[in-house]
């Protein structure tokens, strides 16, 4: 239960920072995809179940406020969180190097997905211009934010664990 509460708070904080604090900046400025960092970090650290569920709710929140079709981002994020969980099963490390690679990889996949579904089907713009104007800047900013946030998320994860085990002791 405490873990669920922590997740809800984390998702809300990341969502508000990304969409409301950054909203005060220029509308065109690229914004790092903080929710994505949250999704793949927890997927990687905690396994595919939590990655999948956090991804679903992050995506849903985004869709509810800004998407035209509810469920599209939720679908993309769920699959990503799940995939990150599977990769974490194969190889786990405490350093930031692998997560960083995974983050860049996630964003690339996410954008290719968006491009295919939203842009290609409607016939807007070329992939090259999409890549250079949207995907690459976001990749860069999110990569930098991952370096800063991943250690923080790991720390938060340890705190949640301590909080949980305290509860367990109380019951015993």
């Amino acid at each position: 239960m405490k873990r669920v509460i922590s997740y809800v708070l984390l998702i809300l904080v990341f969502f508000l920072i990304q969409n409301n604090i950054f909203a005060a900046s220029s509308l065109i400025m690229t914004v790092p995809n903080l929710l994505m960092i949250l999704v793949f970090s927890f997927g990687f650290i905690r396994g595919s179940l939590e990655g999948m569920l956090i991804g679903f709710f992050c995506g849903l929140l985004n869709d509810l406020f800004f998407g035209n079709t509810i469920g599209f981002t939720a679908l993309m994020y769920s699959v990503l969180g799940y995939g990150m969980g599977l990769i974490g099963n194969l190889y786990y490390t405490d350093f930031v190097n692998l997560p960083l690679l995974l983050c860049l990889f996630s964003i690339l996949i996410y954008h290719i997905g968006i491009y295919v579904f939203a842009f290609l089907i409607n016939g807007y713009g070329s992939f090259g211009s999409y890549l250079s104007n949207v995907a690459l800047p976001e990749l860069l900013y999110t990569g930098i934010m991952t370096l800063l946030l991943y250690p923080l998320i790991r720390r938060v994860e340890e705190l949640i664990q301590k909080w949980e085990s305290r509860k367990a002791r109380n019951y015993a």
Partner: protein
Amino acid sequence: MNENRRRNAPRGGLLILIGICLFLMLVSSFSPGFNNFLRGTISSVLMPMQRGMNQAGSYLFGRIEKWRELSQVQEANSQMAQELAQLRKENAALKLNEKELEELRILLDMKEQYPDYGTLGAHIIGKSSGNWFQSFMIDKGEKEGIQVGMNVLAGGGLVGIVTAVGDHYATVNTIINSGQYVSAMSTRSGGTFFVAGDLDLYSQGLLAIQNVSLDSDLARGDMVVTSNISDIYLPGLLIGYVESISADSNQLTRSGTLRPVANFDALDMVQVILTLKKVED
């Protein structure tokens, strides 16, 4: 070391979740009422927080912006001095023209070109997370009289259109999005064409002009407004000025770029036009 705390999804868990997502996508494409119910519920909880966070952000980015501007201002200042001299000269010539125009107007008994639409001011309090789609959220909603399809202006120029409303918020889809087409016309010459969002151009602050007929005399500097034939935009709203125009390779149409009047780089306040475009069925 972490093996013991990892939890993997149960078999088929992902498929169930994907199923839920697909179901939501299907329902939301066909039933706007369902969307509004979900959005209304979540927004009534999150709205106060979003407002607060946005104010914090405005303060933060305001400080950063001030710093950046200081260095630009000096450079701009010297440029402006030159421009001022140039403009003074032009102004004198224009004053003469204006007098002439006024006389001619009286002769023509010309009516006001733009009808006076009632507007409602609103603050932008949120921005979409994806960098591929430029939409934003404003702090006025259904309770304040906003409806889906209302046109949104900023700084006198068209910005976009309301696509979703909650009790006290609304989502606005901007015209700089790829795939947003606005039917437009020039105030000087006849003929309609499209103003469209373009990924390559929006980073330069421009919009694309498409489907200009070859015999139209559209030229650089022409004022472009929304056309009478648009389904969703009211006629006569200022969009911007033609920046460049050239013939397409097919030699059938011309296309070019347009500089919007609304400054998309620094949107903060917008005006929502409370009149809806009525289309006869």
